[in-house]
Subunit: 114 residues, 2 copies
DNA sequence: AAAAATACCCAAGCTTCTTATGTATATAAT
DNA sequence: ATTATATACATAAGAAGCTTGGGTATTTTT
């Protein structure tokens, strides 16, 4: 896992959204899913991911469940009810931010344009 | 100037892009332009803006020019040649990041869709 | 046998932001 | 007339969120 800047603040939203779609995922799986979806362009570092997961759990948005797979431990995360509510909030926050970014950076841009 | 999170890392790109379009701007003007373009949704704080401007100047991407307007001092910033080169680099970096974000967060999304 | 992949974790340090503060002039409101 | 808001710059402490670089352990590939 290495080299990509930016993200700063969107990692939580990414985690929550992936868990909304997948019911239950473990850390390593999340890094692989993101890598796959972005064709290797975004690589979530473990040093960023695990603290983020622990924080979301501490905030009551995620719960964990340990599973044993071939002598290896997997820690599955899933959304709590509060977590489910937070997904939409974080998503619309991020979408509106991206919209505003476009308005600043691309004068031609308006919603509903390619 | 207050209350908006996110941004984290995109401020430099915003500054450079605005200066590409406007030749010369002063700090306060930048905060007002962003506020105007986003209908008040993004407010650049001065505590974020001025250090960012100073850093870009120290990196040789911006130059300054002091002007006196009605007993008030204005510090105009404009792009250096290196600054002009950096705009496109920072822009494509950010655009590709936003594209990747969409791919993660919106499974339906693909380039050239509303 | 060695390397890479799978799977978790932590800590130091850096960057970037928020919040709070300070200085100073001009204009609008009470 | 005085106060508040707008204009215009700046700095500094602290928080948040990363990167980098460790560490542990098993399984699969080379």
């Amino acid at each position: 896992m290495s080299n990509n800047n930016l993200i700063k603040g969107s990692l939580q939203t990414i985690i929550l959204k992936l868990l909304e779609e997948n019911e239950k995922m473990y850390g390593y799986e999340i890094t692989q899913r993101v890598k796959e979806l972005t064709e290797g362009e975004i690589k979530i570092t473990e040093g960023a991911l695990y603290p983020a997961l622990h924080k979301l759990e501490a905030e009551g948005l995620l719960t964990t469940e340990i599973q044993q797979v071939d002598n290896r431990v997997r820690k599955y995360y899933s959304l709590t009810k509060n977590g489910q509510k937070e997904v939409s909030a974080k998503m619309s926050e991020l979408q509106s931010f991206v919209g505003n970014l476009q308005r600043i950076l691309d004068p031609e841009w308006r919603p509903g344009l390619a």
